[in-house]
C-alpha cells in the first residue's frame, strides 16, 4: 500500500487502495450492466406485447394480461426474485426441475417484473394518441397493420420515451437487488470491502459508479428524445 494521501471515512486513503477496491467492484459492475441490458432488451418488447394483450378484443387474453400486470406491480420485486430463486425449487414434484442458476433466475425476475411496468407505460402512450390519427389512416386506405406500424407505434414510443427513461434509471438501481439472491455484483463487492477494511469509501465509490451509469443512460435517452422531437 502506498503513502496515505488523506484520511477519509476512518481509513487512510491512497490511490493504491482505491485501485485495489475498484477492480472487484468494476467486475461486479459488469454483472450489473449485463443484467440491465438483458432485462431492458427483453422486457420492453415483452411489455409491448402485454400492452397489445391488454388492448385485445379477445377478453380472456385481456383479463389475463391485466391480472398479470396487477400481480407484478402489486408485489415487491424483491419478493418475486426470492420466489423465483428459492421458492420455485420448493414446489412439490416439479420443484426439482425449477432450480435455476441464480443469475438466470434474477434475469427472469427482472424481465417479468419490468415488462409489466413497460406495458403500462406503453398503454399510456397509446391512450394519448388522438383518434383522428386512426381515422385519417383509414380514409387514406392504410390497413390495420400499416396504421399500427407507420402511424401509431412511432408516436406511441415517442410519447412513452420520458417514462421509459425514468423506468430504465430505476432498473439500474434495482439491479442492486441481486445482492439479496447472492449474485456477486457491484454492491456485493462494495459491502465486502466495507466489512473487511472498516471504511465507508467503497460505498461512496459504488455510489459514484451507479451515478456514472445513470448519467450515461440519461444522456442517451435525452439525445433520443431530442432526435425524435419532430421539429
Amino acid at each position: 500500500m502506498g503513502d496515505p494521501v488523506f484520511i477519509f471515512g476512518g481509513f487512510p486513503m491512497s490511490l493504491d487502495y482505491l485501485i485495489s477496491i475498484l477492480k472487484p467492484m468494476l467486475e461486479g459492475a459488469q454483472m450489473t450492466v449485463l443484467l440491465f441490458l438483458i432485462a431492458i432488451v427483453a422486457s420492453i418488447p415483452l411489455g409491448f406485447l402485454l400492452t397489445l394483450a391488454v388492448k385485445s378484443s379477445f377478453k380472456p387474453l385481456s383479463w389475463l394480461a391485466q391480472g398479470y400486470i396487477y400481480l407484478m406491480r402489486g408485489t415487491p420485486l424483491l419478493l418475486q426474485l426470492l420466489f423465483i430463486c428459492f421458492g420455485l425449487p420448493m414446489i412439490p414434484v416439479i420443484g426439482e426441475y425449477l432450480v435455476l442458476d441464480r443469475f438466470v433466475a434474477a434475469c427472469l425476475g427482472f424481465i417479468l417484473n419490468y415488462a409489466a411496468y413497460f406495458a403500462e407505460i406503453f398503454r399510456g402512450g397509446l391512450l394519448a394518441i388522438d383518434k383522428g390519427q386512426y381515422e385519417a389512416s383509414k380514409v387514406l386506405g392504410l390497413n390495420k397493420w400499416q396504421t399500427m406500424t407507420r402511424i401509431i407505434l412511432p408516436q406511441m414510443f415517442r410519447i412513452a420515451l420520458p417514462a421509459v427513461t425514468n423506468e430504465s434509471v430505476t432498473l439500474v438501481k434495482d439491479t442492486a437487488l441481486l445482492y439479496a439472491v447472492a449474485v456477486p455484483e457491484l454492491l456485493h463487492f462494495a459491502q465486502t470491502a466495507v466489512n473487511r477494511d472498516f471504511t465507508i469509501v467503497p460505498f461512496v465509490v459504488a455510489g459514484v459508479i451507479y451515478l456514472i451509469m445513470t448519467i450515461f443512460l440519461t444522456v442517451i435517452f435525452k439525445w433520443l428524445e431530442k432526435r425524435l422531437k419532430f421539429e
Partner: protein, 248 residues
C-alpha cells in the same frame, strides 16, 4: 352525371335518431355545401359516406357500386375499394405529427397505391407548389400554422386522386384570419371541377362556391337547392331562422 347516390340514411344512438331519411345525389363536378346548426347530424352524415360511421339503414352507392344497400354493408374488400374513391379533410387536420409535410403526402400513396416513387414524388411536388408550401416540404406539422396544416391535409387527400373530396368543417378550428387561405385552395379546386361535399359554417363560401346547398336540422334534410334560391328565398321557417342567425 350522378356519381354518388344517398338514400334514406338512418342512424341512431340508442333512442336518439341522429340521421333520419337522408336522401341526396351528388353529380360530377358538384360542390355541395352542407349547412345547419351544431348537432344537426351534418358531420355524422359526411363521416358515414367514407365509412367512419356505420349507418343503421339506407343506401349509399358510389359510381354504381353499393357501399351499403338497405342497411347491409358490402364485403370489407369492396368497402375499401369504394371508400378509396373519396378523400376526407378533417376539422382538426389529423396530420401525422411524426412525419414531415412531404412524408405526410407520400406515405399513403406509397403504401396503398402501386405507383412508382417517381410518380408519387412528382405529384407531391406539384401539390405542394399548388398550396404554396414548397418551402415547407421538410418541416414537421408542429411547425405549421393552422391554415398551413389544413392546406397540407387537403394536399394529402388529393395525393390519392379521389373522385370526391369531403370536408368536415375545414375552417372551424382555425383563427378567423387563417380561414381565407384554406377557402382559397378550396375555391381553386372547385374551379378545377373537383367534386366536393363541404360541411361548413362559412356561409360566404356556401353562397359563392357551392352549386348546391343542403340545410340539415335535427338529423334530417330540411331543404336543399341552389344557393341563390336557398339563401334568398328559404321555404321553411327553420331554414329562415338558421340563416338569420348565421348571416347576422
Amino acid at each position: 352525371m350522378t356519381i354518388m347516390e344517398v338514400s334514406s340514411l338512418k342512424k341512431s344512438y340508442g333512442k336518439l335518431d341522429v340521421l333520419k331519411q337522408i336522401t341526396f345525389d351528388v353529380n360530377k363536378n358538384d360542390v355541395i355545401a352542407v349547412i345547419g346548426p351544431s348537432g344537426s347530424g351534418k358531420s355524422t352524415m359526411l363521416r358515414s359516406l367514407v365509412h367512419l360511421e356505420e349507418i343503421d339503414g339506407g343506401t349509399i352507392s358510389v359510381s354504381g357500386n353499393f357501399l351499403v344497400r338497405d342497411g347491409v354493408y358490402t364485403k370489407p374488400q369492396e368497402i375499401k375499394q369504394i371508400t378509396a374513391k373519396m378523400g376526407m379533410v378533417f376539422q382538426h387536420f389529423n396530420l401525422f405529427p411524426h412525419l414531415t409535410v412531404k412524408e405526410n403526402l407520400e406515405l399513403a400513396p406509397k403504401m396503398v397505391k402501386k405507383e412508382s416513387s417517381a410518380e408519387i414524388k412528382q405529384r407531391s411536388t406539384e401539390l405542394l407548389e399548388k398550396i404554396g408550401l414548397t418551402d415547407w416540404a421538410e418541416a414537421y406539422p408542429g411547425k405549421l400554422s393552422g391554415g398551413q396544416k389544413q392546406r397540407v391535409a387537403i394536399a394529402r387527400a388529393l395525393m390519392m386522386n379521389p373522385d370526391i373530396l369531403l370536408f368536415d368543417e375545414p375552417t372551424s378550428a382555425l383563427d378567423p384570419e387563417l380561414t381565407g387561405e384554406v377557402l382559397q385552395v378550396m375555391k381553386d379546386l372547385a374551379q378545377e371541377h373537383m367534386t366536393m361535399i363541404v360541411v361548413t359554417h362559412e356561409m360566404g363560401f356556401a353562397k359563392e362556391v357551392a352549386n348546391k346547398v343542403i340545410f340539415m336540422d335535427n338529423g334530417e334534410i330540411v331543404e336543399s337547392g341552389a344557393p341563390e334560391e336557398l339563401f334568398t328565398n328559404p321555404q321553411f321557417e327553420r331554414t329562415k331562422a338558421f340563416l338569420n342567425r348565421s348571416l347576422k
